[in-house]
């Protein structure tokens, strides 16, 4: 029992600490990109305690439920959303010494569990009984269902090369430093088609985690706040938390599949479980940084263009890529 609790507590702690840091970090990054400073007041050095202050404020806020909302679903949606992203962390290998649950179908489980996010977004959008929320919910349902296909196809490509659905095994086989003599044995350097796969994967996770240029469900300049319009206080904070957790989850998945997970880029140098955790988080956070960087650069797509990109470009491309990878594997 105690072991289970500890296993459950470790990812939760990581998520919570990460969310506080990432929200602060995103504001700082946005600030620096826009020639500002971002939060500077709370806590002294560069306003590091800003997220904590925000969290305290959100906890104290009134919990408003619209009169005509579907009360149960309205209350339940944020928790379900957070639960889905949290549960998926169980199969992420944080270090060579730690993985929440060592199951053989890790990737499959992760993709299945994250699909629940779609449900909770629709739930929130529909339960609010607000037209903007409904539009946001519907958009996001379409978007997430669609973009799951290229995500799965690219993950499948990796699985094909690695030969395992267990993320720990996938990571372990990326150890070592002898691709072309000096590069680490990461999957992205193994095979030219995996580079294409990574690009498709990265675009898809941008869309899956509602980041610019695909942030249509909550695009504030069109739909006010999308499915979050009617939420306030703690429930809204849960959405925020789930969103950032989702971002981290998909980035970590990307780091595991393409960038060698907890493997050090320098072979055995700076290896070991503790350094492994460090490298893993560093890789994940770098991807998160790129997502934020993109967010503060680009405008967003329109909903039909979003669908066009997915169904007409990414899905065919990802399947062609899958076939070519298979050929490459057979030949070499």
């Amino acid at each position: 029992m105690a072991a289970i609790l500890i296993h459950a507590a470790i990812p939760l702690t990581i998520i919570l600490v990460y969310a506080l840091v990432a929200i602060w970090g995103e504001r700082k990054i946005a600030g620096f990109i826009q020639d500002r400073l971002g939060p500077m007041r709370v806590g002294g050095w560069h306003g590091w305690a800003q997220s904590i202050a925000d969290l305290l404020k959100l906890i104290q806020k009134e919990d408003i439920i619209p009169t005509n909302a579907s009360r149960f679903l309205f209350k339940f949606a944020p928790f379900m959303m957070f639960a889905a992203s949290y549960a998926a962390f169980a199969v992420i290998p944080f270090s060579s010494a730690y993985i929440g649950s060592m199951i053989n179908i890790g990737v499959f489980y992760l993709l299945a569990v994250t699909s629940i996010l779609t449900l909770s977004v629709i739930m929130a959008g529909w339960a609010s009984n607000n037209k903007w929320s409904l539009l946001g919910g519907m958009r996001s349902a379409a978007q997430m269902v669609s973009y799951e296909v290229p995500t799965i196809a690219t993950v499948l490509t990796v699985v094909l090369v690695a030969g395992s659905l267990n993320l720990m095994t996938v990571t372990e086989m990326q150890a070592g430093n002898d691709t072309l003599g000096f590069l680490p044995n990461w999957l992205i350097f193994q095979n030219p088609f995996l580079i294409v796969a990574f690009i498709i994967f990265f675009i898809s996770i941008l869309a899956e985690s509602h980041r610019v240029p695909f942030d249509l469900p909550e695009s504030e300049s069109e739909l006010v706040g999308g499915y979050q319009t009617e939420y306030s206080g703690m429930r809204w904070a849960m959405f925020m938390l789930a969103e950032y957790a989702d971002m981290l989850l998909l980035s970590l998945l990307g780091a595991t599949l393409f960038f060698g997970g907890w493997n050090s880029p320098f072979g055995d140098f700076m290896g070991g479980p503790a350094w492994g955790f460090f490298w893993f988080m560093l890789k994940g956070l770098l991807l998160v940084f790129v997502m934020m960087w993109i967010r503060w650069t680009l405008p967003r797509y329109r909903v039909d263009q979003l669908m066009h990109i997915c169904w007409n470009i990414l899905i065919p491309l990802s399947f062609i890529n899958l076939v070519l990878t298979a050929l490459w594997e057979v030949i070499f």
């Binding site: 826009q34 539009l135 240029p213 249509l216 300049s221 650069t297 405008p299 329109r302 263009q305």
Partner: protein, 379 residues
Amino acid sequence: MIEVISKETGNKEMVINMGPQHPSTHGVLRLELVLDGEIITKVRPHIGYLHRCFEKYAEQMDDYAKVIPYTDRMDYVSAINQEHGYVIALERMLELEVPERVEYIRVIMAELQRIASHLLGIGAFGLDLGAFSPFLYLFTEREKILDIFEKVTGARLLYNYFAVAGLMRDVHPEFKTDTAEFVKTFRPKIKELNDLLSYNKIFIQRTANIGVLPEKVAFNYAASGPVLRGSGVKWDLRKNDPYSIYDRFEFDIPVGTGEVGTLGDCWDRYMVRVKEMEQSLRIIEQALDGMPDEGDVMAAIPKRIRAKEGEIYVRTESPRGELGYYIVSDKSASPFRVKARAPSFVHLSLLPAISRGSLIADMVAIVGSIDIVLGEVDR
């Protein structure tokens, strides 16, 4: 939820209120949208939330000059241009001579204000489409212009700087160097804007072929300024009906080209504004060269203006288009009637004509591309 069955398609339609409090209606504008899914079948703009009785105030004032600060408040983004139109109308009506130096300072100020206004318009347009950073970069540049204005006029937004046949105060000695410095630093920023936003493929996909305004419709709706020029019409009051001393300067009229989509789409209107800023810089440079260093900034006119009976309609090119003042005077000290023909008002009225059949996201782009200021729409 209000649902209606469409007579034409038989689909269920949803009525949705965009505004008056909505992030991308640029103020308190309410658009009543009838949606079939996400496709707009009908738009009904509702205005008047910012109506501040400018015309009634103008009649109630006991002096023609007291109206000038109220003209500032119509289009608060380009206050100088609003004043310019009003004082020119009065000067033409009373046949007053304006000193040379005043004309040059007025042109420099008006062109700086045009750049400032376009910066805000372009920035807010990008913001509507989800690009946040360009907005703040452009705002930084706008602040520099406002700094110049503050040093000259004492105010940052609502200047009340132009007086009838003169200026409220002379410019400070560093005015020329300050402005020249700004012109120098601003040119590279336009290139940066083009890199970051104008030629960004996502931005082009969002704005090309959207909200197409054909030339004929534009004339019928009396569109003017960048909206008309975006449709490919070479029409600029500074060239076609020159006022002040604009006939002395050399500059081009940028028009829409349809290079990324259809002629007269949102991108063309946007690009006309970007190119216009470069032309304004050219005018400023020429005006700085030609501006006399010494001279009066106030013509010798009686302290209180008393007009004879008569009326006049004077139009000037404000950043948003043709700004007209129709002034009727009787023999009293206050105007009998002042009507401001606001370009934003006219442009907003053509919104239903160009937005039928588009998506909600396009609606945002169209409203942003015609660049309305609600203060001017409602007056």
